[in-house]
Symmetry: C2
Subunit: 279 residues, 2 copies
């Protein structure tokens, strides 16, 4: 048994998948969700051994608490968890933005040892029904420790990341958010804008003709709106900066195409193609 008693708060796609990935690897596995149906489902499927819609009940005996809700629900839960669990415990979250969460963690009472986390395993689906034990495998799992994070908490977080088959990457929260804006939050916004432009064509055949290119380009537009609104509002500055860079690039492309300077257009496209192929 590598891990102590774990309580997971939020049994959606991420929390449910984490529970599945940790089965048999921790001393005990308890789950909390505000939705009783979800708790019942998690118990029925054996995803958790104990479950409750009562935070205190779900937290009883936990040594490691993992918060796996949308970002602003995490922000609201953090002080409540610290209050409900008076014994020393390790705290990890799986939120998609990190700066505001880490700032909130810094204010928690001293019996809590918090560390931020973000597993990058984007799926536009949500909910327990889509949970799978392999969700994190080979994925980057960012850890954003605070100055107050105890060494054993960071070590435990690494053990958890290893246990679920992910690859840990320790990163500053602000740097994480800046990068996440460009590789995830702004691509979500362009996906939304592409759907809007297809709608603006006002031609029902647009949806008939939409092939794999459009499907892939707009996959993120199907993401849950609560999750994405939480992400955008807690990473507003970086998202707006990334968006401004995309808008600048589109303006440059527009000018290159409108001017008919084909050599410059080709050079611009080829440089981006090479960068993309480096992935």
């Amino acid at each position: 048994m590598d891990l102590p008693s774990v309580t997971i708060l939020g049994l959606g796609l991420m929390g449910g998948s984490l529970a599945l990935a940790l089965r048999g690897r921790c001393a005990a596995l308890s789950g909390y969700d505000h939705d009783l149906e979800v708790v019942d489902q998690a118990l029925a499927r054996g995803i958790v051994t104990r479950g409750s819609t009562d935070l205190g009940e779900a937290l009883a005996g936990a040594r490691l608490v993992v918060v796996a809700t949308p970002v602003r629900a995490i922000l609201a839960l953090l002080p409540r968890v610290a209050e409900a669990l008076p014994d020393p415990f390790h705290l990890l979250d799986l939120g998609s933005t990190k700066a505001e969460i880490v700032a909130r963690m810094a204010e928690l009472p001293q019996h809590v040892s918090p560390v931020g986390g973000h597993p990058l395993c984007g799926k536009e689906t949500s909910g327990l029904a889509g949970a799978e034990a392999t969700l994190f495998r080979e994925k980057v799992f960012v850890l954003t420790p605070l100055a107050r994070t105890r060494p054993e908490t960071l070590a435990l977080a690494h053990t958890l990341v290893d246990a679920i088959g992910a690859r840990a990457l320790v990163l500053d929260a602000a740097r994480h958010d800046r990068l996440a804006a460009r590789i995830s939050h702004v691509p979500y916004l362009t996906a939304i804008a592409l759907v809007a432009a297809a709608e603006a064509a006002d031609d029902e055949l647009a949806w008939t003709l939409a092939a794999s290119g459009f499907r892939d380009s707009t996959r993120l537009a199907a993401s849950g709106v609560t999750m994405m609104t939480d992400i955008l509002t807690t990473n507003r500055t970086a998202a707006l900066e990334g968006l401004a860079d995309v808008q600048a690039a589109l303006s440059e492309l527009r000018a290159l195409l409108a001017d008919g300077d084909e050599a410059a257009l080709r050079a611009y496209l080829e440089a981006r193609r090479q960068a993309r192929r480096g992935l």
Copy 2:
């Protein structure tokens, strides 16, 4: 045998896949490519039964000619094909934009019966090596007949589309181009812009963190630059219109996010999410 003798001009991903899909379904299958190595490869793999880098040689005896090169190579080839093949023949192309090609087809001598075509089976790879017989299966294959297209040519095009497992959709060339701009050409431009914005972060970790969301959103940015430049320059007006709509949507998103009008932001995102889920 449903189809007469076919000559395919251009043995890349599309032409090669068409040849594979038509194997055993036409009286004879000949191929042309300007690259001798490609012709040799097609012959060695049995993709065509006759192949040449000489246009006249490849066209000898053809009753149906399919032009499967990038768009501007199609525009250049059309009059050459009409000159090299003095007997009456059916002519189909697979170009990604249709208005300029159909206009060029309209000028061809009367022994040619042309029809435009565009199978929507986007792949960002190119070249004969990636060709596969199943590429067109279940895909929409747009046909853009001209006023001069003979009924038997359109019927033959339908037979070909059926033979390769695609679904024919007869469409006006201008309407095709307007829609293609929004579901394919503008998504290519946003993919390029997303790569540019990731580069602008000037942080090598961007590529490490890029997960499936970024990969899917930018897949089109890996498309061949010659193919895409041909598409953009022959569909400039529609591409610029679609791009303007995307830019307008991004500006609206920026304002909603910057203003902090969360209810309006949520409503905007949710409406696009519903439209996307309709796919």
